[in-house]
C-alpha cells in the first residue's frame, strides 16, 4: 500500500465521519431500512405525505377484508372515507394503528416510519390517535381523570407513580375541556355522560395526546344535530394543524367538512374526489344503491 493510497483512505474516513456528524433534514445518512431514525417524535413529511399505504392486503379466513389498498394523506388534510358496510374502513384503521397485521403491503407514517414495525402503544406515542366506532372512555374515572390519562407525557410505570400535573399541562387540559364543551362535567364519572358527550370526551382524549394524525371512526354517530354541528366546527378548526381521517355515514356532516372524499368498496379504493364528484360517479351509485 502506497502512502498516497493511505492518505486518500484517511481522507475518506474523515469525510465520512463529518457526514455522520452533520444533522440533515431527512434524518441522518445511515440507511433507514424503515427503522425510526433519531428523534422519534418528529415525523418526516418532507415528501408531502403523512400517511402512506401501498398495496395493503389482509384476509380473515379467506375473506379479503382489504384488497390491494393504496391511499395517502397529506399533512394538515381532512380526508373523509365513506363506503358501504364491510368495505374495510375499520379494518384499515386497525392496520394503521397496529391492531391488525396486514398479509402484505407497506404502511408508512411520514416517509421514514414503517408502522408495521410498531405495536399499538408505540404507534399512539408516534402521534396517531384513534377514536373507536363505539365510544370508548374509562367509565369509572371522571372526565378530568380521563383527559389526564390521555395527556402526552412519559407513559412508563415509574413516571405514572410520581406524576404531578404541571401548570402548562393544567392549562392544556382546561383548554381541551372548553373545546369539547365538558367544562361543567369536569368531576363527573365518564360512565354517566350522554352518548354524544362520551364521543366528545373521546375526541378530547385524542386532543390531549396531541397527535399529528387523527383517525376518527364515525365520530358523530348518536349525536344530536346541534352536537354534530359543533363537531363539524371543531374538525374544521383542527384541519391544517393536524391531519384527520374521518369515517362517516352522515352525508350532511361530510358535506360540511370534506375537501376530498375517498370511497372504499370491497377493501380497495373505488373512487376519490370531491363529494359531488364521487356522488356523480356511476360505480359509486351502483355499490350504494345496487341495481
Amino acid at each position: 500500500m502506497t502512502p498516497d493510497l493511505m492518505k486518500q483512505g484517511a481522507e475518506r474516513v474523515q469525510h465520512h465521519a463529518e457526514l455522520l456528524a452533520s444533522a440533515t433534514a431527512s434524518g441522518g445518512r445511515d440507511a433507514g431500512y424503515g427503522r425510526v431514525l433519531q428523534d422519534r417524535t418528529e415525523v418526516d413529511v418532507s415528501h408531502g405525505r403523512i400517511l402512506y399505504l401501498e398495496d395493503v392486503s389482509v384476509s380473515f379466513d379467506g375473506f379479503k377484508a382489504i384488497n390491494k389498498l393504496s391511499l395517502d394523506i397529506a399533512p394538515g388534510e381532512l380526508r373523509c372515507i365513506i363506503g358501504p358496510n364491510g368495505a374495510g374502513k375499520t379494518t384499515m384503521m386497525d392496520i394503521i394503528t397496529g391492531k391488525t397485521r396486514p398479509d402484505e403491503g407497506t404502511v408508512y407514517f411520514g416517509s421514514t416510519i414503517d408502522l408495521l414495525r410498531h405495536n399499538e402503544p408505540e404507534i399512539a406515542q408516534l402521534g396517531i390517535g384513534r377514536k373507536f366506532q363505539k365510544p370508548t372512555v374509562f367509565e369509572q374515572l371522571t372526565v378530568f381523570e380521563n383527559l389526564e390519562l390521555a395527556l402526552k407525557t412519559n407513559k412508563g410505570v415509574k413516571a405514572s407513580m410520581f406524576f404531578k400535573l404541571d401548570s402548562a399541562q393544567s392549562d392544556r387540559l382546561a383548554e381541551v375541556l372548553h373545546t369539547i364543551h365538558l367544562a361543567e362535567q369536569v368531576g363527573t364519572l365518564a360512565g354517566v355522560l350522554s352518548h354524544g358527550q362520551k364521543q366528545w370526551l373521546e375526541i378530547g382524549m385524542l386532543l390531549m395526546q396531541d397527535p399529528k394524525l387523527l383517525l376518527l371512526d364515525e365520530p358523530v354517530a348518536g349525536m344530536t344535530d346541534h352536537e354534530t354541528e359543533r363537531t363539524a366546527e371543531l374538525f374544521l378548526s383542527l384541519k391544517g394543524k393536524h391531519s384527520l381521517m374521518v369515517v362517516e355515514h352522515d352525508m350532511g356532516f361530510i358535506r360540511t367538512i370534506s375537501d376530498i372524499v375517498t370511497v372504499l368498496c370491497d377493501g380497495a379504493v373505488l373512487a376519490q374526489g370531491t363529494l359531488d364528484q364521487v356522488q356523480a360517479d356511476e360505480r359509486v351509485i351502483e355499490v350504494y344503491l345496487g341495481r
Binding site: 405495536n119 370508548t136 390519562l149 405514572s160 407513580m161 410520581f162 367544562a183 369536569v186 382524549m205
Partner: protein, 369 residues
C-alpha cells in the same frame, strides 16, 4: 374563557380516615398488648391468647385480601393462585424456623427431622441460605416475586385475559401443591414443616414473642394499606383502573399495559408472600395444603364480600368471613359450608360492591334525606 377550577389531586387519606387509621394503629400497637399482657386473665377486659392468635392470623389473611384487591379490584385481573405466593412466603420462613430447631428435634441431628427420616446426609442446595435470618427475609420477597414475574411476563405478553388467566393461575398453584407433596423436592412432603421451637434464638411459645409477631403483623397490614392507597391514588392507579375498564383505549392512548400489569401482579404477589411469612411463626405449621385451590378462591371471596376496589373493603371482608368461620366452626360446624355458600350467593346477587358498598349506599341515602 372562564378560569376553570380543576379538581385537586386526591389526598392519600382524608382527615377522618387518618383518624381512623391512627385509632387502628393504637389498637394494634398499644391497646391489644396491654389488654393481653397487663390485664389479669380473670378480668372482663382481658384479651385472651386465643383471641390474639385468631386476630393475628386474620390480619395475615387481610393482607392477602388487600393484595387481591390491587390485582382484581383495581386492575380487573382475577387471580386464583394467590395462595401459592402466600404459601411460598410461608415455606421460606418455615425453612428458617426448621433450621432454628437445631439439635432439639426427635433425632437430635443438625438436619431437620424429615431429612433424617429420608436418610439424607446433608442439606440440599436450596436449603443452604435457610440458616440466615437476613437471607430469609430477602428470599421471602425474592422467590415469590421472581416466580410471579416470570409467570406474569409470559401470561401478560401473550395477552391472556379474564377467565383463562384465572384458570391458569389455579392450575399453577395446584401444580405447585403436587410438587411440594413429594418428599424428594425437600419441603417435608405432605407433613410440611412444624414443631418450630424458636426464632432468632428466642423461644416462639412465649406471650412476649406471640405479641411481638402480632404487633408486627398489624403494622405490616397498616403499612401495606398506606402503600396500596398511595398506589391507587397516583396516576399509576388510575391507569390500572383504565386497563380494567377499557384496555384497548389504554393502548391507543400510548400506554403499554404489560409493565403495568406485571408490576402490580408482582407487588400483589410479594404482599401475599410477606403475609405468609408472618403467618407461619404464628400458627406454627406450613404444609402443601396451603396451596390448595380452595385457599386461593377464599382470598377472592374475602375481597368480594368486603367490596372490590375499596382497599378497606377486602380487609373488612377478611375479618367478617374468617370471624364468622371461627365462630361457626365451633358453635355449629355442620353449617359453616352452607353459610359460606349462602354468603357467596347473597354477595353476588345483591351486593356487587360488597359490605363497604352497602354502607356507602346507606350513607349517601342518609346524606340526601
Amino acid at each position: 374563557m372562564n378560569k376553570l377550577i380543576l379538581p385537586a389531586a386526591p389526598a392519600l387519606l382524608t382527615r377522618k380516615a387518618w383518624t381512623a387509621f391512627l385509632v387502628c394503629l393504637l389498637a394494634v400497637g398499644v391497646l391489644a398488648p396491654m389488654l393481653n399482657l397487663l390485664v389479669p386473665a380473670g378480668s372482663a377486659l382481658h384479651l385472651s391468647d386465643y383471641a390474639i392468635a385468631l386476630i393475628g392470623k386474620i390480619m395475615c389473611y387481610a393482607i392477602c385480601a388487600l393484595a387481591m384487591d390491587l390485582i382484581w379490584g383495581y386492575t380487573g385481573i382475577l387471580s386464583l393462585g394467590h395462595g401459592l405466593f402466600f404459601a411460598l412466603g410461608g415455606y421460606v420462613m418455615g425453612m428458617y424456623l426448621m433450621r432454628q430447631i437445631g439439635r432439639d428435634g426427635q433425632y437430635q441431628s443438625d438436619l431437620p427431622d424429615f431429612m433424617v427420616f429420608l436418610d439424607w446426609k446433608e442439606l440440599p442446595w436450596h436449603w443452604l441460605l435457610s440458616g440466615s435470618f437476613a437471607a430469609t427475609l430477602v428470599l421471602v420477597v425474592l422467590v415469590p416475586g421472581l416466580i410471579a414475574a416470570v409467570f406474569g411476563f409470559f401470561a401478560f405478553r401473550s395477552r391472556i385475559k379474564g377467565v383463562y388467566f384465572s384458570i391458569i393461575t389455579q392450575a399453577m398453584t395446584f401444580a405447585a401443591m403436587l410438587l411440594f407433596f413429594r418428599n424428594e423436592t425437600g419441603f417435608g412432603g405432605n407433613n410440611g414443616f412444624t414443631d418450630f421451637k424458636r426464632i432468632l434464638g428466642m423461644p416462639l411459645a412465649t406471650p412476649g414473642m406471640r405479641m411481638t409477631l402480632f404487633v408486627l403483623t398489624g403494622m405490616t397490614l397498616l403499612g401495606f394499606f398506606l402503600f396500596a392507597r398511595w398506589l391507587v391514588t397516583s396516576k399509576y392507579g388510575r391507569v390500572l383502573q383504565a386497563i380494567r375498564d377499557a384496555e384497548s383505549r389504554v393502548m391507543f392512548s400510548g400506554y403499554s399495559p404489560l409493565p403495568y400489569k406485571l408490576s402490580i401482579w408482582v407487588i400483589s404477589a410479594v404482599m401475599c408472600a410477606v403475609a405468609g411469612a408472618l403467618y407461619v411463626p404464628q400458627v406454627g405449621i406450613i404444609n402443601p395444603g396451603e396451596m390448595s385451590a380452595a385457599n386461593s378462591i377464599e382470598i377472592a371471596v374475602w375481597a368480594a364480600v368486603g367490596g372490590r376496589a375499596t382497599l378497606v373493603g377486602p380487609i373488612v371482608g377478611a375479618f367478617l368471613v374468617n370471624g364468622a368461620k371461627s365462630w361457626l366452626t365451633v358453635t355449629a360446624p355442620e353449617f359453616w359450608l352452607y353459610f359460606l355458600g349462602a354468603l357467596f350467593i347473597v354477595v353476588t346477587l345483591y351486593l356487587p360492591n360488597g359490605v363497604v358498598g352497602l354502607l356507602d349506599k346507606f350513607k349517601r341515602k342518609g346524606g340526601a334525606a
